[in-house]
């Protein structure tokens, strides 16, 4: 478990084939997401939609990270592209109701990128905080 800068509730929504597999590998190494981070597994990035993201914020998450497979690596071919577009649509909607765009982040990864996922979680802070601590 890594020490994080911001311990307010966060949700990571990700494909079980990339982020989920990466978390499983991390678990084998005795590492895991920090306790303030809730993990929501989906069968494919293509099943992530606006509602899922809005509900995460509504249910208390201060930040939401959407993680899909790398471009061209989706088992369902276009799941990553759908996840990217729907995250963009959700970001636009969230901004229109006063939720800052930085609070929703989109990343793509492979199953061997667990350390990157932990780093992204650690670095997922407000832009001004990121500048102060860098």
């Amino acid at each position: 478990m890594t020490e994080t800068r911001d311990t307010s509730p966060m949700m990571v929504i990700g494909c079980e084939r990339s982020a989920g597999a990466a978390l499983a590998r991390l678990a084998d190494e005795g590492r895991e997401l920090p306790p303030h981070v809730q993990w929501q597994s989906v069968p494919c990035g293509g099943s992530i939609d606006e509602l899922m993201i809005l509900e995460a914020f509504e249910n208390g998450a201060e930040r939401v990270m959407v993680v899909s497979c790398a471009a061209g690596a989706c088992n369902s071919l276009v799941g990553d592209e759908r996840a990217r577009r729907r995250t963009a649509a959700a970001r636009e909607l969230l901004e229109s109701v006063g939720v800052s765009s930085w609070r929703l982040r989109y990343e793509t990864m492979a199953p061997n990128m667990g350390s990157d996922l932990l780093r992204w979680v650690d670095e997922f802070v407000a832009p001004e905080e990121s500048i102060e601590q860098s």
């Binding site: 509602l51 914020f57 909607l93 969230l94 939720v99």
Partner: protein, 222 residues
């Protein structure tokens, strides 16, 4: 089907900031198919309104409901208690559904959450295009099933115009020239000679020119 899209959130919120309760009511027919106002879209808008209230520090009850067909009063009857218990009904139906609710519940404040666009069909996932203007006098039999009134940007009954280039419309190159489509279709079904006939000017009295229209079936009315 009727195609609609959600209004900008800022426009929707402008009507809701002073009220303490809102019922978001969707319609699971046309606007559900075009992903604008069905059960899922109601959930998205409901969540967005609750987040907006939280961000702005307002106390507001947001309730979600959806009926099968908001343009028919029978489907809206179960909404009576919901309507009575909320300051505003935010309808995610087409304009017909919004007006049906407003007529059915005269003391309710009913606002639209969608902009009703046109009668059309889905071309592919996420894309809908206009097919019928509801002119009241269908001429599709004369034009191979391609409507020149709706699909020609100039509503020409005797086309094409000089702006048809490479099968595209001069108004917008992303629009197929309706008259190219008509010609191709008439060739395909062996009726191209019908296009030699000059069509008289359209009688628009069957359209909106005669005011709001009504269909009455004397054999059916009670």
């Amino acid at each position: 089907m009727i195609v609609a899209e959600r209004k900008p959130i800022a426009e929707i919120l402008a009507n809701l900031r002073q009220v303490s309760s809102v019922a978001v009511v969707g319609c699971d027919t046309c606007v559900a198919v075009c992903m604008a106002g069905g059960t899922k879209e109601v959930a998205v808008l409901g969540a967005a309104l609750r987040l907006a209230a939280r961000q702005e520090g307002r106390e507001q009850l947001v309730t979600e409901a959806c009926v099968e067909r908001q343009c028919e009063v029978e489907f809206n009857e179960p909404l009576a208690e919901l309507v009575a218990n909320h300051d505003v009904i935010l309808s995610m139906a087409c304009g017909v559904g919004v007006q049906t609710l407003a007529e059915q519940y005269p003391s309710a404040v009913v606002y639209p959450a969608l902009n009703t666009k046109f009668m059309g069909r889905p071309e592919e996932l996420g894309t809908w295009s206009e097919r019928c203007l509801g002119c009241g006098n269908c001429v599709l039999d004369k034009f191979g099933g391609v409507c020149p009134i709706t699909r020609c940007s100039k509503n020409l009954l005797n086309g094409p115009c000089g702006g048809s280039q490479d099968g595209k419309c001069e108004v917008d190159p992303s629009i197929p020239c309706a008259w190219q489509l008509i010609y191709d279709r008439m060739m395909a079904i062996g009726q191209v000679e019908r296009l030699m006939r000059v069509e008289p000017a359209k009688d628009w009295t069957t359209s909106r020119d005669g005011g709001p229209r009504k269909v009455v079936r004397e054999d059916i009315v009670p």
